[in-house]
Point group: C2
């Protein structure tokens, strides 16, 4: 197995060498004297776990800045949906590559996705070496034939080391009870997670109460959707009893603060869920409602939005960092998110001489509240170096393709 | 006069050359064929105005990450103030240089400052070539002798091309009516602006009402502080009648959303002031409560915090960008903030191939909602190139000094 030796980096304030063998951390010690296949001089860096993006729509990056600052219905009906209707498989491939490039550059090595034409997204991830859980999106309006085809693909797909699938019913307001019930069965059969949007807006709650007489959380619970293999995006509007259900079912709750702020969905009730021991993690949502995929930025939004609606001690930096790293990986069954022997070798090397990390009284505070992508020198995923000195393989081509293909939307 | 020719950049979507002569834009045209003292190949970039930081405490950057996520009184009394008590002039010099480095790297060419030992801050700004308005801080507890000395310095200082002073009474809860009245006179005499904190927290309003029977805005108005030569930081808690006063007096209102969120001060009422035609601009506050000085990030916080408490059309990207650039410059009497012949030559060159700016459907949206400092290639202030290819003069020394000097606070 290939070995990679990282020399002289800093882990929790101590200078160490880190040896990666294959896709795992093999040894971490002050001085490792071995001849490795590849060696990185990492003096002046800190090694930290990378970020795991709990919810996004990667290929949608092709629509970054396409329409902003509009009422939700105008934004969706007159801009986003008509543009998405024009998308063909190559757009998904090019869009996902652009998104993956952006994620690598900002230190993310995994994303939980929901979009269409998943073969293209899978191809982009495998080529670029990033982890992903790609959701098979489902909505009633797709019709039976399309839905059946999607489930067929799910069962025919052989999960790789990097890419798994999920069953992704869109949301309670676009998916019937019957389709939700089918999702539960098909996900069980395929042994994959379920990924859905839940309780994003006040309107969703009101409409659900009017139609079903229960909250969206209660509705999905009655359908068997809520288990520890479920990732729920947004979850903004939750009563205490909704929060009790989510905690009991051990769902992954993915907060997307920038999107919730930009679309005026509301503020996630951080302490309501954390105080119940729920599995809260962080996601960026798609670039149409953010408009980037930076988990560094998203951590700060998560911490600060939680504070302004509560108290300064809410959502402390260490907790938010944990949600974006270790807990994010855990939520998707990835044995990573910590720099520890035996764990999957996912890591970032931060440039400690970057002014945003100076002084270094508290590295985690600096990462959450001060850093931006320029602080990241190296990105390692599954033992492979995806970025070194800020450079990612093929980036010029990825950018050129994205610029070219975006012209069709103008 | 020295000339600088920027070849092949993009201005508002059109490819142009930009000629700078001395400290002003001399010509902007598709093809300028002149031999300049210095030429920049700017193909693949966009030229935009840089950022003007409406409120900060630059030297405080030395305390980045020193204490976070604590109740306000514990944070100030047990951490920040004791650390500040240890500061000597060299700390202020080193801290300001670190801050200025960070500001240049994130595209800021001016900051409105309030801290102590101003000679050191002035020296740092002059050496590094950045614009600043350095506030002479004043609080009752400084005592008459210190206060007199500060005013003497104010009147003895000869403003330079880059650095002006202001009179900076700290806040209504630390400055007596008499001292505020004296500030009005001394500022008039020196022909400088006044810079103060105002209506930052709910407690400030309640205490002011209890002590003076009026709101902090009303109090300062009764003392003659509020004029078009006044910059007010925070201004979070304002009644409609407070907002009427601020609009009538034409004060610059500086919103600091990240700080207000992190310290749980509250959310700035964006539309309350904009709808009255008030001069709203943007500042980062100090790094102890942010924890960076990035105006790029601050624009996004300003836009998104305003939206989540209102509607998606509040604080649109173009308006927020204007506040951080043109209106920011205007508020401090700097004839810059626009890429226009005759204006002072302050500019940024953005790298249009940076993934955060791709696709480029709307550059301003990309800057406000997606960009980070890595998108900035070149920073020009007053006709001088302060950063090129992401590199700033002496940056290694600035960082080394800051790391070394910060050890005293551990």
């Amino acid at each position: 197995m290939k070995t990679l030796l990282i020399k002289g980096t800093t882990l929790n304030g101590k200078v160490v060498d880190v040896l990666i063998k294959g896709n795992k951390f093999e040894d971490i010690a002050p001085n490792i004297n071995t001849i490795a296949d590849e060696e990185i001089d990492a003096r002046g860096t800190a090694i930290i776990p990378p970020f795991y993006n709990g919810h996004c729509h990667a290929a949608m990056t092709l629509l970054r800045g396409y329409a902003d600052d509009l009422p939700l219905d105008v934004w969706l009906n007159e801009h986003i949906w008509p543009a998405e209707d024009k998308m063909v498989p190559r757009d998904i491939y090019v869009g996902t590559r652009l998104a993956v490039l952006e994620m690598i550059k900002s230190g993310t090595v995994f994303f939980n996705d929901m979009y269409g034409m998943v073969e293209e997204s899978i191809k982009a991830c495998e080529e670029m070496g990033i982890r992903a859980q790609i959701g098979i999106s489902l909505m009633d309006r797709m019709g039976e034939k399309d839905i059946n085809g999607r489930f067929e693909f799910l069962h025919s797909y052989k999960r790789s080391e990097l890419v798994t699938l999920s069953v992704a019913p869109h949301a309670p307001y676009t998916v019937s009870k019957d389709l939700f019930r089918r999702c539960v069965k098909e996900a069980e059969k395929a042994n994959v997670m379920i990924h859905t949007h839940l309780s994003e807006t006040k309107k969703e709650i009101d409409d659900c109460m009017a139609e079903h007489g229960v909250s969206p959380v209660e509705l999905l619970d009655s359908l068997g959707i809520l288990t520890e293999k479920t990732a729920l995006a947004h979850v903004v509007h939750t009563s205490d009893s909704d929060a009790d259900i989510l905690a009991k079912r051990k769902c992954a709750i993915v907060t997307n603060p920038a999107s919730n702020m930009k679309l005026c969905s509301g503020a996630f009730k951080f302490d309501q869920h954390v105080s119940r021991g729920s599995k809260v993690i962080i996601g960026t949502d798609g670039t149409s409602s953010n408009n980037n995929l930076s988990m560094i930025e998203e951590m700060k939004f998560a911490a600060l939005l939680s504070k302004v609606n509560d108290k300064p001690t809410t959502a402390p930096a260490e907790m938010v960092f944990d949600m974006a790293t270790k807990r994010g990986a855990e939520a998707f069954g990835i044995d990573a998110g910590e720099i520890k022997v035996g764990k999957l070798a996912d890591a970032l090397l931060l440039d400690l001489s970057n002014e945003r990390l100076v002084p270094n009284f508290n590295l985690i505070s600096n990462i959450v509240y001060s850093a931006d992508s320029r602080c990241i020198d190296t990105v390692i995923c599954n033992g492979q170096v995806l970025m070194r000195g800020g450079k990612v393989k093929d980036e010029d081509q990825i950018i050129a393709d994205a610029i070219e293909i975006s012209k069709k939307f103008i």
